[in-house]
């Protein structure tokens, strides 16, 4: 087992919560018949895809001497460790020890294998610790399953702690300042009052005095995977269909790196859907990217002790709530010192 409940709460808080699903990388990062090494929740993993498309996610660690399986060979339905040829099946079972046929390792499930699902172009995996190996129930974001909604995934890798990336999303007011020079968030008041509104799956953090103008609200949703939902108006140039939404998820890579997943979605059908998709690919995607880069530049420049030396005000209630929630979950997941 690689994810241990004996990890300290500080470690869990820094590297990502366990016993839930997280997005890992886009699906196309692992071609049929290929494998790819990834880091997630501070651990090394191997994504392995058979030629028929079936995907598995294994701890990147040979059960024999601990060599990375990612340096080994893809054998079609198994991976062979480069060091001594030990063969591991997609479910983590050792199928063969070529140097010592009949060895007691054979037939044993010795490599952690995480449950995986592919959703709207992204690989999601369930990261249970040794006390919670069975996957938590997963309810997918409605915008990603609604046939009347169309979405494009944008994935990017940032040198910033995962929690800063989520906190950035629970802080809508930055839209009016950091993104003032952007194609979508130039408008709206630069002062606001906010409130938290609890829901069965998380909470809204929203302006009380403005809606549908800038980045005016966000909902944190905890449905087996943590995600946010938000809506931002497009200028008239984007054509019919109204505002676009974002479903956001993050992959905690390690203590200082994060994979961010932003599905830009819009409720559009027929020619309106087609014209948005055409404009998105040709002109709008670049503008969305420019906005995202503003976030990346800011978060990557934040000092390591940024959240230790703050003076927060009313606009930060959403962030405070988030930290409290994540801190409590990290404490609950750690049995260290128990």
């Amino acid at each position: 087992m690689t994810l241990s409940s004996s990890a300290t709460a500080d470690h869990i808080y820094a590297t990502g919560l366990r016993n839930q699903w997280h997005a890992v990388v886009p699906s196309h990062f692992v071609a049929p018949g290929a494998m790819r090494k990834v880091t997630a929740l501070g651990e090394q993993w191997l994504l392995f895809r058979r030629s028929d498309g079936a995907l598995s996610m294994l701890a990147d660690r040979c059960p024999h001497r601990g060599a990375p399986l990612s340096l080994g060979k893809h054998l079609g339905d198994r991976v062979a460790c480069w060091y001594h040829g030990v063969e591991v099946e997609p479910d983590g079972t050792v199928s063969s020890v070529p140097g010592l046929p009949g060895c007691s390792l054979e037939g044993k499930k010795l490599v952690t294998s995480l449950p995986v699902r592919e959703v709207a172009g992204a690989i999601l995996a369930y990261f249970g610790d040794e006390e919670h190996p069975e996957p938590a129930e997963l309810t997918l974001p409605e915008p990603l399953t609604d046939p009347d909604v169309d979405a494009f995934l944008c994935y990017a890798e940032w040198d910033a702690p995962w929690r800063y990336a989520v906190e950035n999303l629970l802080d809508p007011m930055h839209g009016a300042f950091l993104h003032h020079d952007s194609h979508t968030m130039f408008d709206g008041d630069t002062t606001a009052k906010f409130r938290i509104r609890e829901t069965a799956r998380g909470y809204f953090f929203e302006k009380t005095d403005q809606r549908g103008v800038n980045f005016d609200w966000v909902e944190l949703c905890r449905t087996g995977v943590d995600w946010v939902d938000l809506s931002i108006p497009y200028p008239p140039s984007a054509g019919p269909g109204g505002a676009f939404g974002i479903v956001g998820m993050v992959c905690p890579v390690d203590v200082r790196r994060t994979g961010v997943f932003f599905w830009r979605y819009r409720r559009v059908q027929d020619w309106q859907r087609a014209s948005w998709r055409f404009l998105y690919r040709t002109l709008i995607e670049q503008r969305h990217w420019d906005v995202l880069e503003q976030d990346r530049v800011m978060l990557e420049a934040m000092p390591a002790d940024a959240d230790q030396r703050e003076n927060l005000y009313q606009h930060d209630l959403g962030v405070v709530r988030l930290r409290r929630l994540y801190r409590a979950a990290a404490e609950a997941q750690s049995t260290a010192g128990a």
């Binding site: 090494k37 990017a156 020619w271 087609a274 014209s275 404009l279 998105y280 690919r281 002109l283 670049q286």
Partner: protein, 74 residues
Amino acid sequence: MTDTWPYLDVHQSRTHEPTPYEYKLAATLEEVFTREGHELTDVVRGLNARQVHAADGSPWTEESFRAEMNRLGA
């Protein structure tokens, strides 16, 4: 595709670099949406008024515009 950190790719939705025709059509479409409106009739009228025609040079009809968007936005 690169295996190296960080992955920062501006264009993740494209299948090809847009052609000059596609860039021109997209830019004009944005202008038409801004100035003329969001109805299909507005769009066809606006594109034709600007002499930005289909790839074969013919003026747009609602039918040909729908077909071209379905091709380009599939």
